[in-house]
């Protein structure tokens, strides 16, 4: 017995015309995904067995380790700074004070509306020329990196937080205020924890992008992972060996960050079965 819904989907038909049934769709999907998986596996196998020069790895490994540590450091610092300042950007965006609100809105417009590469150039090349006399900071590359990533991603985190606050029902603030809590207290104790939960997925997404954005720093010669790839590739004309190391390096950061976000999301499923 089939129900009326599956009848409507075409189990009962003339049999003359070709119809997309559930079974047909499932079979097509299986075929396509199998072909795809096999192709990828073959390609990957070919690269790993035929193209990667494993004897080169011990020679280039140390410089990749240095680059990896540098990327981790830049990511760690920029991540903490961008999330914490992003919270304030988000709070400023929901402020009822027009001035605060407009400043935050302008900030977000600029840093979300221009490319990160442009912002890196502004900070790296532009800022030092504004200094009267010689710019006092010798190694301006790493500070530029941290500054650019922080300013850029604080804008995105700010928007995530703003959305998160907007999704908290007005009644939460009203309940807190009706108990005699001040605005700041109500925000801190009641609204922000819920807004944080609402914004977590978006913030996590952004922080993964931050990790990958460090690759742009190659343009100001920061010795990060892509820079190492370029060095090795130009010296050996072997792209796949350094590319493999770059891939492993990025994924070893981004996958755990994704897991961490998942963990934090589950941890704040207040009292639902998923805990």
């Amino acid at each position: 017995m089939s129900d009326s819904f599956s009848k409507a989907r075409g189990d009962v038909g003339s049999g003359q015309e070709t119809r997309i049934t559930d079974t047909l769709l499932r079979r097509v999907a299986i075929v396509i995904s199998s072909v795809f998986t096999i192709a990828i596996a073959l390609l990957l196998g070919y690269i790993l067995l035929g193209k990667v020069d494993y004897s080169l790895i011990p020679t280039i490994f140390p410089q990749f380790v240095d680059a990896y540590v540098l990327v981790l450091t830049i990511v760690g610092v920029s991540s903490v700074l961008s999330v914490s300042s992003g919270i304030f950007v988000g709070l400023a965006r929901v402020s009822k004070t027009t001035l605060t609100n407009s400043i935050a809105a302008g900030y977000v417009q600029f840093f979300r509306g221009t490319p990160l590469l442009f912002q890196i150039f502004v900070i790296y090349f532009g800022i030092p020329t504004l200094w009267p006399g010689t710019f006092p900071i010798q190694d301006w590359g790493t500070p530029t990196a941290i500054l650019a990533l922080t300013l850029n991603h604080a804008a995105y985190v700010g928007e995530a937080i703003r959305g998160g606050i907007g999704a908290v029902p007005d009644g939460q603030m009203e309940a807190a205020r009706s108990l005699g809590m001040g605005y700041v207290q109500a925000m801190r104790e009641v609204v922000i924890p819920q807004a944080w939960r609402n914004a977590l997925a978006a913030i996590g997404n952004d922080q993964i992008i931050l990790v990958k954005d460090t690759s742009l720093l190659t343009v100001i010669a920061i010795p990060e992972l892509i820079q190492q790839f370029r060095n090795v590739n130009s010296a050996t004309f072997d792209p796949w060996t350094p590319l493999l190391l770059v891939a492993i390096a990025y994924l070893s950061i981004t996958i755990p960050v994704g897991r961490l976000v998942e963990y934090l999301e589950n941890r704040s499923e207040w009292g639902s079965e998923r805990v």
Binding site: P169, G171, Q172, E174, A175, A176, R177, S178, L179, G180, M181, G182, Q185, E189, V190, P193, Q194, R197, S268, W270, G271, S272
Partner: protein, 244 residues
């Protein structure tokens, strides 16, 4: 006649162009249970929300024990501590357990030590019949349980007046009784209460005075027996004929 605890003095309230409260005056004395009834959109919830200034009024004055709540320089946080409020949609804090919901304001606002706040909260949970649910999160509770936690949360600040804003309207019919029972007990203990409700049975049984609001006006106020048996105004008669 004891002095008024909560006074509305010629209160006017507009939402944009709409005149939602039309020069309302009413006094609630200490220990009185005042029930406000009326059709939807008549302004009864707005009146309640003005009482702890969740809504601003445009003219007139609202006073708690002589202190103007509506004054520009009113110390709202301290006044609101004396006015408990329970909402139709519970508004429990979902990220906190039942007991944390209750202890949050006493700890953060009044600075009561955690152990004392917890002890008081357990006592309140016991009073509302939820001693076993202290560590449950709001979304693990039924609507009736949530609303009883919300009442306990408001009571934890030891308010002088309690405002109830259609607190049973979002509940399944079989859960209404348990919430009304808690409110009835509260009234018996002498709490001053301002109750906006559609529960006519509750109004008749527990109310000391019933106010009928319609179109932003206070149309009629009387003792429940008088109001329900012999309404004085046409508006009152029409309202009751629809409700009963």
């Amino acid at each position: 006649m004891t002095a008024a605890l909560l006074e509305f003095d010629n209160v006017d309230k507009y939402f944009g162009e709409t005149h939602v409260l039309k020069t309302i005056s009413m006094d609630i004395t200490d220990g009185e249970v005042c029930v406000i009834v009326g059709p939807s959109g008549s302004g009864k919830s707005t009146l309640l929300r003005c009482a702890n200034r969740l809504e601003e009024i445009q003219s007139g004055e609202i006073r708690l024990d002589g202190t103007a709540i509506s004054a520009v320089d009113a110390d709202l946080n301290s006044l609101r501590q004396q006015i408990g409020m329970v909402f139709q949609s519970f508004n429990l804090f979902p990220h906190k357990t039942a007991i944390e919901n209750i202890t949050l304001a006493p700890r953060k606002v009044k600075g009561i030590p955690e152990t004392d706040a917890n002890e008081r909260a357990r006592q309140l949970l016991n009073d509302v019949g939820l001693a076993d649910e202290a560590d449950s999160y709001p979304n693990q509770l039924s609507g009736g349980q949530k609303q009883r936690v919300a009442i306990a949360r408001a009571l934890a600040m030891d308010p002088r007046v309690m405002l109830f804003d259609e607190v049973t309207s979002a509940l399944d019919p079989e859960l209404v009784g348990e919430v009304l029972a808690v409110m009835r007990e509260l009234a018996r203990e002498g709490m001053t209460m301002m109750v906006v409700t559609h529960e006519m049975g509750f109004a008749r049984e527990v109310g000391d005075r019933v106010f009928l609001m319609a179109d932003g006006n206070l149309v009629e106020s009387a003792e429940p027996t008088t109001f329900f048996n012999t309404p004085q105004t046409d508006r009152g008669k029409r309202f009751l004929s629809k409700m009963l």
